[in-house]
């Protein structure tokens, strides 16, 4: 039996099923909340903190993608405090990696770049870490450039949940956290990898891409995920 919750988002009175998140409820009513690690068809992990919202009665900001709606909740998705934090999150992401758009394969098709434009980010206030990550091109067909990884973990989830291989994982803590394949081996040596390429398709930046891929090539398409998710829910591959 469905339970309905009534809440307010940005002054708008909304009814939503008790099982949905604030992000889903907002989207249903055309209220835009910026996201980065969230991708429809994948489970949510609240990794990027861009969808933070204010909830009355809570001092802490809450990530909309993993917070369920509650009765009488009063949510604000835009405020100067949120703008400030969102921009700060973006600036920190930029300062942590080496996001040189002009030479990146994802230029003009990058979700991080789009969000930075939308947030009016014209410079980064923090010192760049100038990471000394390596670029791993040991896989026959694919490349991971750790300088451009923002640890959204989309690749980890699509690989584990959709492909079922679970090649990717995140190792380390804090600013030493980084993407690893299998047991922190080179990607080319990761035996669990099926070379399906789904991780490339979901990567929001230019961290994962096909070898030989240049910026003028057609950019990633994530439609496949919606197709797979729909087919799965209808169990279409069994009957049709």
């Amino acid at each position: 039996m469905n339970e309905i919750r009534t809440l307010t988002i940005d002054g708008q009175l909304i009814s939503a099923d008790a099982s949905v998140t604030i992000l889903e409820a907002a989207k249903e009513h055309n209220i835009h909340i910026p996201t980065l690690c969230h991708l429809e068809g994948l489970s949510d992990v609240g990794a990027c903190r861009l969808c933070l919202v204010e909830i009355e009665g809570h001092n802490r900001l809450q990530p909309a993608c993993v917070t369920r709606v509650e009765e009488g909740m009063v949510v604000r998705t835009t405020s100067s405090r949120l703008q400030k934090y969102r921009r700060m999150v973006l600036e920190l992401l930029f300062s942590e990696g080496d996001h040189i758009c002009s030479v990146c394969v994802a230029n003009n098709a990058c979700e991080l770049q789009d969000l930075a434009y939308a947030a009016g980010m014209d410079h980064v206030r923090f010192d760049y870490l100038h990471s000394t990550h390596a670029l791993d091109a040991s896989h026959d067909r694919f490349v991971v450039d750790h300088h451009r990884c923002i640890l959204c973990a989309r690749c980890v989830r699509v690989c584990a949940d959709v492909e079922g291989a679970h090649t990717w994982d995140i190792a380390g803590r804090g600013h030493t956290a980084h993407l690893v394949s299998d047991l922190a081996q080179d990607w080319g040596e990761a035996r669990s990898c099926t070379s399906c390429g789904k991780c490339l398709l979901v990567c929001p930046t230019g961290a994962l891409f096909a070898k030989g891929f240049v910026v003028s090539d057609p950019q990633n398409k994530q439609d496949f995920l919606r197709y797979i998710a729909n087919t799965k829910s209808r169990k279409a591959w069994k009957d049709e």
Binding site: A137, V214, S216
Partner: protein
Amino acid sequence: MAERRREILIDPVSRVEGHARISILFDERGAVSDARLHVTEYRGFEHFCRGRLVWEMPRLTSRICGVCPVSHSVTSARAGDDILAVAVPRTAEQLRRVLILAQWVQSHALSFFHLSSPDLLLGRETRAAERDFFAVMRDNAEFARRGIRLRKWGQDVIARIAGRRIHSDYAIPGGVARPLPERDRDIILDGLPEAHNTMRQALDIMKALLETRDGESEMAGNFPSLFMGLVGADGGLEYYDGHLRIMDAAGNILADGVDPRGYRDIIAEDTEPWSYLTFPYYAPLGRDAGMYRVGPLARLNVCAHTGSPKSDHELAEFRQRGGGRGPEHHSLLYHLARLIEVLFALERIEELLIDPETLRTDTLRSRAFSNRTQGIGVTEAPRGTLFHNYSAGSDGVITHVDLLIATAQNNLAMNRSIRQIAAHCIPRADTDVDERILNRIEAGIRSYDPCFSCSTHALGRMPMQIEFRTEEGRVLGRFSRTPR
């Protein structure tokens, strides 16, 4: 008694690309003992491109320069072709060729009209503050307008083919990114008659100038040197493919048919503590006798012909200047050579664009992974022969980069030029050195159209020395690193 003159500094050198200064040194008797061109900026591309993928290199290296990004990206793509070991489709090669030629047009136009015409057209007595392109515009509006439009046309050709004027994503290892639409081809061709007219006029002006400045020409950097450039299989002027030819001052061909891949066998580099720019020379002859020049003057000296009627006619006339006895040595003739090359570029662009092969849309790129561990790309950039030399792992990750830039190859000759001009203009210790004399020394540099921002990349090879001096000039200490 006035204090003895020890050093004159020209800082910065103006109307060139990049940053440099000139110092003129005097001996005990007050005569010019040496003149040095110090290139004071450092770029470091050879270092930070390591660890990147070969497919990214054209885009990375095009950022070396905003004037000749096409040269770097195409040369880099050619080094990439070599690493992938693929044959580039003919359409892609022809489009790359048009790009290089358009780059010649816009860069040579910039050098001649915007940067050097103030030296050539305005009287020698003009003050520094008035010696600029705006003064040329005031005195000779039509000439200036035509020059600006010629450069604009060259840039427009690049933009129509590559998508944008600078730093495009167009040249990629294995080919090019997009076909050229017929409509854009037609617009480019429509601009050719005006460009030819402009060149006709510029050539007439330059030749007249050379007549009137005959006496002076003996001191504006006129000395024997070797010359190097690419030539085609028949010895004709080449800019994209072909082999290296080295000619000595008397016109003897010292080396011919040199595979550009073996350039390190014939070119060695030296360094000096006072400049980031290396000093390449023809290795078999050593640094002093091996000084060689590249660029328009060298290319016209080493080639047998241009292979296009109008420019071949001009080349024949050019060769008669020295009585047809051998290569031209005079650096001032770089300007004339540049104009003849623009003419050549216009003729060749037309030939290439009317070929239906250039408009094909089906074969633009050969795809492959990394198949070789070394790749060398060579083209003739506007300022001379440009080498990109990469080593890569089997995964396509670059492990070593060696860039040999045209401006560096002219370094010994540029230093010789300014020394010659300085010695001529400042004959005695008590010569009154004013800004006009200093500008003539700078103009000597400008004839080479150097691009300093392009040319300083080598890390570890630079023994740049830092001096700590008191206000009076007393040296307190020197700091330097040993060259590799």
